[in-house]
């Protein structure tokens, strides 16, 4: 079961971790990306994520579907936020379950790497004296 979402609301980490997978899964691997309070040596006050919503949703689903098929995951949940994200809050969670652990590790790492390459979402860092768009992969 693959579920993906792009949402403005805070991510319900406890709920996602409690509901991922079933009784035949021996392994759950998760990645949580969080808004950091610094960028290089500058203090970051908060982040804002802009998304090309329709395309980002399609891409998130395609990437999760691909990973679930490739590593035979029994379930996979991916939630990415857009809009303002406060320091310490999660901007993304990826959780995958599988009978054995190697598949879940490989899948989660593939999903976050691929999201950072391909999903049309952009991060802006806000400082006390301005803001900058973060340079992504080229």
């Amino acid at each position: 079961m693959v579920k993906t979402a792009l949402q403005q609301d805070r991510i319900d980490i406890a709920g996602i971790m409690a509901n991922i997978g079933g009784s035949s899964d021996g392994a759950v691997v998760s990645f949580i990306g969080r808004a950091r309070d610094n960028s290089g040596d500058r203090q970051v006050l908060h982040l804002e994520y802009e998304a090309y919503g329709e395309m980002a949703r399609k891409q998130l689903q395609a990437i999760a579907d691909d990973a679930a098929a490739r590593w035979s995951l029994s379930s996979c949940t991916v939630v990415h936020r857009y809009g303002r994200v406060e320091i310490g809050e999660a901007s993304i969670i990826i959780a995958a379950s599988s009978p054995h652990r190697k598949e879940a590790f490989r899948a989660v790492e593939y999903i976050i790497d691929t999201i950072k390459e391909r999903v049309p979402i952009w991060k802006k860092e806000f400082f006390s004296d301005g803001s900058v768009w973060v340079n992504g992969h080229t």
Partner: protein
Amino acid sequence: MKIKIKAFANVKEAFGFDEKDLTVSDGITVREVIEQFKTICEPLNEFNGSLLYAVNEAYCPESTVLMDEDTLAIFPPVSGG
């Protein structure tokens, strides 16, 4: 024919709009649209080579020929996660 342009992040800021309807000649390519914008939008030149394109929500190369009612999205390298 008519196409829709969407712009995001610092490309949106360079353009000064996030969405615009445009009338273009039949058979125009993504590259030709971009070249036209570069003449009227100086900051766009700074993205040299790093811009990404999507037609109707799917990535495409610069050589893509646009069709009537297509939506062309122009944006910088992504930085989500």
